[in-house]
């Protein structure tokens, strides 16, 4: 049911996570959409409930208690549209991230062309690519069949063949998919998403449609040079919801409430970032990061072109046990601000994977939690940046390209003991370059806005302009090489009052210039020693208008990439100093 929200008044969004289920209410206040309140409860997707409905009901109950507004009737059905007594809501949307990652097999012709694109596509949702099959695969055809049968994937993504390109070799690759589907019990057959040469759609359909669910999306590699994932990502977001409907009770019902429009939380978050990039007129990309229990999601959009990466191995919940196998421990412990043994960090990660909803109650546990968060942000952003850094042709290899704003969400950030800790985690984990603004989604509503944006882009834009998101700071991070202590940037800020402050920034320093929330100022930047602040070329300066945030203007001249001290105790002292600089502890 396609409906417009422009005339509607209220919107309820349900976000079902692996740890928490949220019911979020948006409504029109003074002619503009506002975030009203959220009700958060533990998710009930897993045992003993094994049905998300209980959590959804309780989250709505919590929201009703907070707002005093009745949204569900005595018949347990959503009251819609809003009744004359103020009960009910006009529209409804939902997104989900709960559940184990989808098991995916990627099939493509060439390893570094279509197969790579199929992998990129799988990364845009909560999935793990368990195996790949390609033309260069030396396994016998029956070995490929056996692989599919052994892994019992939830989904097989088939790519390959440029438009008007290869056809017979693509059909040959599909043969084991069809045979394996035929051989698997009906309730275990994988869905198939075909994103290859569009000339073969009919052939693919006829060979697979009687065996399993086959979905089609435009070719993700229409030419050897071009990767085009957008339409396929959209299709995959829907497939994800349908597979979840089969796997977890209650999802189907929730999806029905949305008239089949429920999508993954990551896709919803990506959609929100894409809207934001369209609304921003800078040449930079917009970056979103969601550090969740089930995954860390990086969404980067460049003038409406979205790159979405979901790293299920980098969640701060159950996947932490796997994280230890993928990341060297010293890359995590380097971020520790207190002295704890390496073994304690391992134990923390394993115990958190057992109890993903548990909280760090001691100073040491919080330090480990935040060290883990820094490293997952670092790895996720660097991995994702490989696929989007070329789009705006800026910044050095291995660094985050120029991005503004950076929108961050996730409990480890929004529930940090103080905002200084959240800011420092973001600066350390993401290491932004040039000039950017850091925005914190305190209420974890960004995915909900994306879910709602399918029916109302207006809502997303208006909420983003409201105070529902916390503008943490404008951050200036010069990029270049110099010895610590070398002056690398001259900066002057002119406040609305006309008052001016000048500063010479030295390499290795972290500085904060106060600029109260909502106030504006004009900043003049003059990089030295060919340092680059993203104004067109190394050494080039200029002026820009900035708006005050919680931390005013932060000049992060600690170096890109950030190099930490080798000595453990001196490094920990340094972390404390940086935190004090930001006013935290």
């Amino acid at each position: 049911m396609a409906t417009s929200l422009i005339d509607a008044d209220s919107l309820l969004v349900i976000d079902v996570g692996s740890v928490s289920t949220r019911a979020i209410l948006f409504d029109v206040v003074d002619g503009r959409y506002r975030f009203v309140a959220a009700g958060t409860v533990p998710s009930t997707a897993g045992a003993p409930y094994c049905n998300i409905s209980e959590g959804v009901r309780m989250a709505i109950d919590r929201l009703q208690n907070v707002t005093g507004r009745i949204m569900v009737g005595a018949d347990e059905k959503l009251i819609t549209p809003t009744a004359s007594d103020g009960s009910g809501v006009d529209k409804f949307a939902a997104c989900i991230s709960a559940g184990n990652p989808l098991k995916v097999i990627a099939v493509g012709l060439l390893e570094d062309v279509s197969l790579e694109s199929a992998r990129h596509l799988a990364t845009s949702t909560y999935a793990r690519v368990m195996q790949t099959i390609s033309l260069n695969d030396r396994r016998r055809p029956d070995a490929r069949i056996n692989t599919i049968i052994r892994l019992r994937p939830d989904l097989i993504i088939v790519a390959g063949g440029t438009e008007n390109g290869a056809s017979q070799s693509v059909l040959k690759l599909i043969e084991p998919v069809g045979l394996a589907s035929y051989l698997l019990p009906e309730d275990c057959r994988p869905d198939v998403l075909y994103v290859g040469n569009q000339a073969l759609k009919d052939d693919v359909q006829s060979s697979l449609e009687e065996l399993t669910n086959v979905y089609f999306a435009p070719n993700i590699r229409p030419t050897l040079e071009l990767e085009q994932l957008d339409a396929a990502q959209s299709q995959l977001a829907g497939i994800f919801a349908r597979i979840r409907s089969r796997q977890i009770s209650g999802v189907d019902e929730l999806n029905n409430w949305t008239n089949g429009a429920m999508i993954s939380t990551a896709a919803a978050f990506g959609r929100m970032i894409r809207f934001l990039s369209k609304a921003h007129t800078t040449r930079k990309g917009v970056l979103g990061i969601d550090v969740g229990a089930s995954a860390t999601t990086i969404a980067a959009a460049f003038d409406g072109d979205l790159s979405l990466s979901v790293y299920t191995q980098l969640g701060l919940g159950r996947s932490l046990a796997d994280l230890l196998e993928h990341l060297p421990l010293h890359e995590i412990t380097r971020w520790l601000s207190v002295d704890v043994p390496d073994e304690y960090v391992r134990e923390y990660a394993l115990n958190k994977s057992i109890y993903p909803a548990s909280l760090p109650a001691t100073e040491a546990d919080m330090a480990v939690e935040q060290a883990l968060a820094r490293q997952v942000m670092y790895v996720a952003s660097r991995t994702a940046a490989k696929s989007f850094s070329s789009r705006n042709g800026s910044s050095d290899e291995g660094l985050l390209p120029w991005m503004e704003p950076i929108v961050a969400t996730g409990s480890v950030l929004s529930k940090a003991p103080n905002l200084a800790q959240a800011v420092l985690m973001l600066l350390d984990g993401l290491q932004p370059t040039g000039v950017t603004t850091l925005v914190l989604d305190q209420n974890h509503i960004a995915p909900a806005l994306g879910a709602a944006a399918a029916v109302s882009p207006v809502l997303a834009v208006q909420i983003l302009d409201s105070n529902s998101f916390l503008h943490l700071a404008t951050v200036i991070s010069p990029v270049g090489k110099a010895q610590p202590g070398t002056p690398i940037l001259r900066l002057k800020i002119i406040y609305e009052s006309g008052h001016e402050t000048s500063l010479e920034v030295k390499q290795g320093s972290l500085e904060v210039l106060p600029l109260p929330y909502g106030q504006t100022g004009r900043i003049q930047l003059q990089p030295l020693h060919r340092f680059d602040v993203g104004m067109g070329a190394p050494g080039r300066g200029g002026g820009l208008r900035v708006t005050g945030g919680t931390f005013g203007v932060i000049i992060d001249a600690r170096g890109r990439p950030l190099t930490l001290l080798e000595d453990r105790s001196r490094r920990q002292e340094q972390f404390k100093n940086w935190l004090w600089t930001l006013g935290g502890r």
Binding site: Y49, Y355, A357, D365, N418
Partner: protein
């Protein structure tokens, strides 16, 4: 707030659904008594297939090769059976490389399902089959003691329990395992030495129950071929007193160890079951609930990890030494000490 529940029960009714991940054959009947190692159902979950390229073997086009195929779908084959040919002067033939069954024939190819040992689903707990689940498995019910764990390495076994743990924080070392324990399930508390696992497998033991283990030896425990269950978590936590008392008072009894990994989405959790006959009518243990005063709880995380206590009252938002604000409860720990613990770090004993 919803409360997670852990069962540490001296006597209860335990009902577990045991189902295959796919369709298969159920091998038990309703009312049948089973041991934890009895096979409930079996299925060829991971069949191996062979695709014979007959056309290539005979040197013919696929269409022509089809005319020489000597078997059809459903046929059972023994290794060496001729499946196609003979062709030409050389009387070329294609033979089955192994025992199996023909699944598909055509386009110059034969697809054979190779005969293989089926996956066997064990009962996991000793008891009575109370319900059959068509083509998938059965529900088994028993009475006895139940202790749930937090981590398991995926194996199932059954044996007499030998108690090595003299105290809840007893440290297990390899020299404590000797030949007198062969074939038994050993109850210890903490483990830090990977050599323990080597000794346990060499004897062999039938299982190992631990309170906690060092994180660094977890990968070795995961690879063990005997069941290993962790009750508290990773690190140096002693065994909670409720589990310690219950298990140590059942020394020399037969226990069933189901060390399936804890996965809330597939509803599996490592468990220790000590079967005991019971005539009284029992209700199933509580599985869901909310935090309320007077509940007995177990602390999940530091500080006080593994300690048992009683909720005195639910508080609002409290700031913890980590700086975190969270809803909490006043807890009187067994030691008599008072503590304020986040609700998220508690589970209810029920």
């Amino acid at each position: 707030m919803l409360a997670p529940i852990i069962h540490i029960l001296p006597f209860t009714v335990i009902r577990r659904e045991r189902i295959l991940p796919g369709m298969g054959k159920v091998l038990v009947r309703a009312g049948q008594r089973v041991s934890s190692l009895d096979v409930i159902a079996e299925a060829n979950l991971r069949p191996e297939y062979l695709l014979l390229n007959v056309a290539r073997g005979l040197g013919l086009t696929p269409e022509r090769a089809d005319q020489f195929i000597q078997c059809q779908a459903g046929d059972h084959l023994a290794e060496g059976d001729m499946v196609a040919g003979p062709v030409g002067m050389a009387r070329r033939v294609v033979r089955s490389p192994s025992d199996g069954q023909v699944i598909l024939v055509g386009s110059g190819q034969i697809l054979i399902e190779v005969a293989s040992k089926p996956f066997q689903l064990k009962a996991g707990i000793p008891g009575e089959v109370v319900e059959l689940i068509a083509d998938r498995g059965a529900t088994v019910e028993t009475t006895g003691a139940l202790v749930q764990g937090v981590w398991g390495n995926g194996h199932i076994d059954f044996g007499v329990m030998v108690v090595l743990a003299k105290s809840p924080d007893h440290l297990l070392t390899p020299d404590q395992l000797d030949v007198s324990m062969r074939g038994s399930i050993v109850l210890a508390a903490r483990c830090e030495d990977p050599e323990v696992f080597k000794s346990a497998e060499e004897l062999p033991l039938r299982g190992l129950i631990l309170a906690s283990m060092s994180a660094s030896i977890a990968p070795i425990a995961a690879r063990m071929q005997i069941p290993v269950i962790i009750l508290e978590g990773f690190g140096h936590s002693p065994m909670n007193t409720a589990a310690f008392k219950l298990l140590t008072t059942n020394e020399r009894r037969e226990v069933a160890l189901n060390a399936e990994p804890w996965d809330p989405y597939s509803e599996t959790r490592p468990e220790i079951i000590i079967p005991m006959p019971g005539s009284e009518r029992l209700s199933l243990p509580q599985e869901t609930g909310t935090f309320t005063p007077d509940q007995q709880v177990r602390v999940l995380r530091t500080p006080h990890a593994g300690e048992i206590g009683v909720i005195l009252g639910i508080k609002g938002s409290v700031t913890f030494p980590s700086g975190l604000k969270a809803q909490a409860a006043d807890i009187r720990l067994e030691s008599g000490r008072m503590a304020v613990i986040p609700l998220a770090n508690l589970e209810v004993l029920a």
